[in-house]
Amino acid sequence: MSTATIVKLPPQETASLPKRSYLNSEYGLKSWLLTGDHKRIAILYLISITFFFFIGGAMAGLIRLELLTPQSDLMATDTYNKVFTMHGIIMVFLFLVPSVPATIGNFVIPIMVGAKDLAFPKVNLLSWYLYIVAGIFTISALVLGGVDTGWTFTTPLSTHYLNTHVITAGLGIFIAGFSSIFTGLNFIVTIHRMRAPGMTWFRLPLFCWSNYAASILMVLGTPVLAITLVLVILERAIGIGVFDPAKGGDPLLFQHLFWFYSHPAVYIMILPGMGVISEVISTFSRKRVFGYTAVAFSSVAIAVFGFFVWAHHMFIMGVSNYSALVFSLLTMLVAVPSAIKIFNWAATLYKGSITFETPMLYAFGFMGLFTIGGLTGVFLGSLGMDIHLTETYFIVAHFHFVMVGGMLMAFLSGIHFWWPKMTGRMYPEALSKLAALTTFIGFNLTFFPQFIVGYLGMPRRYAAYPPEFQVLNVLSTAGATVLGIGYLLPMLYLTWSLKYGKIAGSNPWQATGLEWQIQSPPLTENFIETPLVDHEAYDYEWLAHQTEHEVQTVG
C-alpha cells in the first residue's frame, strides 16, 4: 500500500468470525422482533431508518426534478406542497432525530460504558415499535393523499384551511416523539447508572457525552411538541379554540410551543453526530481529543443554550422587537460551544499522525460543511439579515449544510467506523472512499448554489420560480443526482460486505474505546467479565502497551 494506513486486519487466510456472537445467538424472526438486546434493536433501527431515508430521499429527488424548470410542469403545485412536506416530516422525525442515537448510540453506548445492556431493554424495544407505528401513520398520510402543511404544521393553515391528512401525520409525529423520549431516557439512566468500575464521567468517550446532552433535550423538549400536536389535532378535529384567532387564540403561541421543541431538536440531531466526529478524529490522528473537558462540556452547553433561542425562527412572524433582540443575542451564544468543538477538533489534528480512512474522509466533510452551515446560522440569527434571508433558499441551504452536510456525513462516518464492530466485516475501502468523495462533491453542487439563489431572493416552498434563477437550480438538481449516487453506493457495498467483506478482527482501527477491546461482532452479553477501567479515554499509549503485552503472551 502506498498510502499510510492504521488498519490492522487479522491474516485473512486463517481468520474467521467468532463462533458465538449476538448475530447467531438465536435465529428466527421472533428472536429479532422480541429481542431485548440493544445491538439487535440497533440493527432493527438501522434497517427501518434506512428505509425511511430512501423514501424521504425520493421526495427530495422529486422536488429537485420539479425545480429543474421555472414552470411547475412535473407536478401540480399542491402536489409539490405535499412532496416537500413529506420530505421534511420523514427526514426530520423519522430519519435525523433517531439516526445516530437509535442506531449507533444504541449499539455502542452500553459497550462504551462497560455495561451488558441499556438500563431498560424492554423500553428500548418499545421505542422501536413506537417508531414503526409512527412510520405507519406517516406512510398512511402519504398513501391516503398526503399532507401539505410543511413539516412545521403552521396554524391556522393546518387547523382550518387544508383538507389533507394533517391528523394522521400529526399522530405519527406524536408517536415518534415518544419513541425518541424513551431512547433518551434510556441513555441518561444507562450513562448514570451502568458504567463499569473505574469508568468515571471524565473517562467516558465523548460520544457518550454528546448523546447524553442530546438525551436531555429529547426528554425535556419532546413533550412540549407532543402537547402542541395534541392541541392542533383537537382544534382540527373538534374545533377547540387555543390557536384559532377567530375564537381569541393566538397562532403565534403555536409557533412558540412548536419551536420550543423544534429548535432543540436541531441539537438533538447534530449533537450525536458531533460525538461520532470526536471518536473518528481522535482515532485517525492517533491523539487524545484536544481539550477533552471543554468538548465534553460544550455538548452540555449546546443542550442548555438550545432552550433559550427558539424565537429566532419567528423574527418575521410578529413577535415583539424587544423579545426578538433578546433571542438574537442568545442565538449568538450558541456559536461559542459549537466553535469550541470545531477548534478543538482542528487542534486534535495538529501534529497528529493522520490517516485517511473512509470515516475520516466523512469527518473532514463534516467539519467543513458544518462550519459553513453554522456560520450562515449566525447570519440568520442576526435580526436585520434574517428579514432579508428567511423563507428563501438561503435558509434551505443553511439547514441542509448543517443537517445533510453535518449530520448525514457524521452518520455515514459513524456507520463506516463501527461497521466492522457491528458485522465483523470490513467494507470495501476504495469504493467507500469514492462514495465519500461523491457525497462531498454532490452535496456542494446541490446546496451551494442554493445560498446564492436564496440571497438573490428565490423563496422556498414554491414549485415555480422566475427564469433568471434557472442556471443555479439546474446546478442544484445535477448535484442532487450525484448526491443520490453517493448515498446509494454505501447501501450497495455495505450489503455486499455482509457476506464478502474482509474479516475485521476485534480492533481494525487500533482504537481505544471499550467496544474495540471485545470481539466483533460482540457477544450478546458484550463482556465475558465486567471490565475494569484504569485509563483515560483516547489513551493510545495504553493501547500500544496492551498490544505489546498481548503479543508477548500469545507468542
Binding site: R193, K247, P531
Partner: protein, 244 residues
C-alpha cells in the same frame, strides 16, 4: 498500572447477598443498582410529564392575562362544590396510594391490595364527578367547537355581569383550555386506573410483597404526579376571583 487488556474483577465479590434474587435482571450488577436505575428512569419520565402539561400551563398564563373577564365568568360556571370534593377525593387517593407503598415496604400483602383497591375506587369517584361536570357543560352549551353558545355570557341569567360580545367570544378560549387541561388530566387518571387494575391482580398474587416493590413505588410516583397536576388545575380553573 494493571496490564491486562481489560482487567477484570472477581465475579463473586464479598457482599453479593442478593445476587441471585429472582427479580434481578441479568444486566444489572446489584439489586440497588436496579432499583435506583428504575426510580431514576421513572423520574425522568415524570420530567417529560412536567413539560407536557407545561405547554398547557403556558397557554393558560397568556390567555388568562389577555382575556381576564372571560376567564372570570367562565370560571364561575364551574361548580366549586364539585371541584372541592374532587380535590379532596384525589388527595385521599394519593394518601391511599402512599399507604399502599408503605404496605408493600412492610410486606403486607392484604393491606397492599386493600389500599390499591381504595385508590382505584377514589380514582373512579373522581372520574365520575368529572364526567358529571362535563355533562353539565354540554347541556349548558359550553363545549367549544362542538356545542357552544355565548348566550350565557352576553345575557346572563344569574348575578354575573354581562360581557360585550367580543369578550364573551373569548370564553371559548377558557373552555378550550378547561377541556384540554382537565381532559389530559383525566386521560392520565384513566391510564393510571388501568395500570392499577393490573397491579392489584399481581399484588394479590404476592408479586410486590416479596422484597421487590419497584413497580409499586414507581406507580406511586406517577399517581402522585397526577395529583399534583390537579392541585394546580383546581385553583387555576375553579377559583378565579370567586369574590366578584
Amino acid at each position: 498500572m494493571d496490564s491486562h487488556v481489560i482487567a477484570t474483577q472477581p465475579v463473586h465479590d464479598a457482599h453479593e447477598a442478593h445476587a441471585h434474587a429472582p427479580y434481578l435482571r441479568h444486566h444489572f450488577e446489584t439489586v440497588e443498582q436496579q432499583r435506583e436505575a428504575s426510580s431514576f428512569g421513572m423520574w425522568l419520565f415524570l420530567l417529560t410529564e412536567i413539560m407536557f402539561f407545561g405547554g398547557l400551563f403556558t397557554a393558560y398564563l397568556i390567555y388568562r392575562n389577555w382575556y381576564y373577564p372571560a376567564f372570570v365568568v367562565g370560571s364561575h360556571q364551574l361548580s366549586i362544590v364539585l371541584g372541592t370534593i374532587n380535590t379532596a377525593v384525589l388527595i385521599c387517593s394519593s394518601f391511599t396510594m402512599a399507604m399502599g407503598v408503605y404496605s408493600a415496604e412492610m410486606k403486607r400483602r392484604k393491606a397492599l391490595v386493600g389500599w390499591l383497591l381504595a385508590t382505584i375506587i377514589l380514582g373512579g369517584v373522581f372520574l365520575g364527578i368529572k364526567a358529571d361536570e362535563y355533562h353539565e357543560k354540554w347541556e349548558k352549551h359550553h363545549v367549544p367547537g362542538l356545542n357552544f353558545s355565548v348566550q350565557d355570557f352576553t345575557h346572563p341569567t344569574d348575578a354575573e355581569p354581562a360581557l360585550p360580545l367580543d369578550m364573551a367570544q373569548k370564553t371559548q378560549v377558557y373552555f378550550s383550555l378547561y377541556f384540554a387541561m382537565t381532559g389530559m388530566h383525566a386521560l392520565h387518571m384513566v391510564i393510571g386506573i388501568s395500570i392499577l387494575l393490573v397491579l392489584v391482580v399481581k399484588a394479590w398474587g404476592g408479586a410486590y410483597t416479596a422484597g421487590h416493590m419497584t413497580t409499586i413505588e414507581n406507580f406511586g410516583l406517577y399517581w402522585h404526579f397526577v395529583d399534583i397536576v390537579w392541585i394546580f388545575l383546581f385553583p387555576l380553573l375553579y377559583l378565579i376571583s370567586r369574590h366578584q
